[in-house]
Symmetry: C2
Subunit: 214 residues, 2 copies
């Protein structure tokens, strides 16, 4: 398809597509003559992902380029390729090592991983930005005096593990490795608000069931 059709089908203006092409976020089309390039479904998919990252996830352009570089890196194994793409997404604040709640939270997180037999997560440990952001979140909760320890976190972690299994099952239904990594990145950006809203709606439902509506 030509640029005009790519624009129409993706809902992204031709000016914005040209900007994404210049920034290297979308690979160039196949040049058919000096002024015309031809685009395919791969470009359409990539535009969708770029919009998810930049317009919905508010990921800065340079970060998006880094994430997409990992998505496209066929030299990596699947776990590393997925991890690299997801780790490149903006994460929360880093642990403040001056804060006494941080080492205590890290000890609880490590105890949690042992309790759950999450051996890969234990091995990767604080190398993973996700591990570090869990430490920050637990330190914030406990620094304010809400006592969350490994035992209290464990049933929630089990539920999130069940969610992760669903995530990977749906990844595996994708045709190509590139689509699998793209789907994972889109899900990380777009699906989190769905999960948060489902959780809050479930709280309302359960509260009404237990205590009535008045």
């Amino acid at each position: 398809m030509r640029l005009a059709e790519l624009s129409e089908r993706s809902g992204v203006s031709t000016a914005t597509i040209k900007y994404y092409l210049r920034e290297g976020l979308v690979p160039p089309g196949r040049q058919v003559n000096a002024t015309t390039a031809e685009y395919d479904d791969g470009h359409l998919r990539r535009l969708r992902l770029v919009r998810a990252l930049i317009q919905v996830g508010r990921v800065p352009v340079a970060k998006a380029r880094e994430v997409l570089g990992h998505v496209d890196d066929e030299s990596l194994g699947r776990t590393i390729r997925l991890g690299a793409a997801l780790w490149a997404l903006p994460q929360g604040p880093e642990p403040d090592e001056e804060d006494p709640a941080v080492p205590a939270a890290r000890a609880e997180v490590d105890r949690l991983l042992a309790l759950l037999d999450w051996d890969a997560a234990r091995e990767v440990g604080a190398l993973s930005p996700v591990h570090r952001s869990l430490v920050v979140a637990v330190a914030t909760l406990n620094g304010l005096g809400y006592g969350w320890d490994a035992e209290r976190l464990a049933p929630y972690a089990e539920l999130m593990h069940a969610a992760a299994r669903l995530d990977l099952d749906s990844l595996e239904a994708q045709a190509s490795e590139a689509e699998r990594v793209e789907t994972a990145v889109a899900a990380a950006v777009l699906f989190e608000p769905v999960l948060r809203a489902l959780h809050r709606l479930a709280q309302e439902e359960e509260s009404a069931r237990r205590y009535g509506i008045e």
Copy 2:
């Protein structure tokens, strides 16, 4: 306890406590003479919650005052009091009725609630800001071409329902109704980052188990 001790035990400066008192976010102490007031554990708890809302949740002062007004309103039944406090928290963007993805998403959400027998959530429907933010999240996902329907959302909704049961079980362990509502509000602000980090860490763990680490 006096103001100095309240400051020391809460980790909030006396200047900030005075500001919260002036703004009506923390109830006044019991005046023992013209210049001295006495504070108790209720004040300490309230300060913790105000910090969670304002410093961690970045809730504006006027919004925080509204949330706390519902927390303190003993005339309301438990579901309404919880709901009013949680609904007053900042929510995501409202559905854009001009966007054709919105009515389609709303139809899927309603079909999801029917599928799950979430009758209270169906009854409250779009009156709930949480319902509306779920519609927005699903519309965004599907507007970008990721096809999520009620059947695909349902197993995630069941997991979030299990999480909501854990949430309410721990609420019920609190001594007073005021503490229960306070705990619910703090959890909404402070526990969501924990849940998000647990989900991402579970994805890493499950990916490493399925595909290895290299």
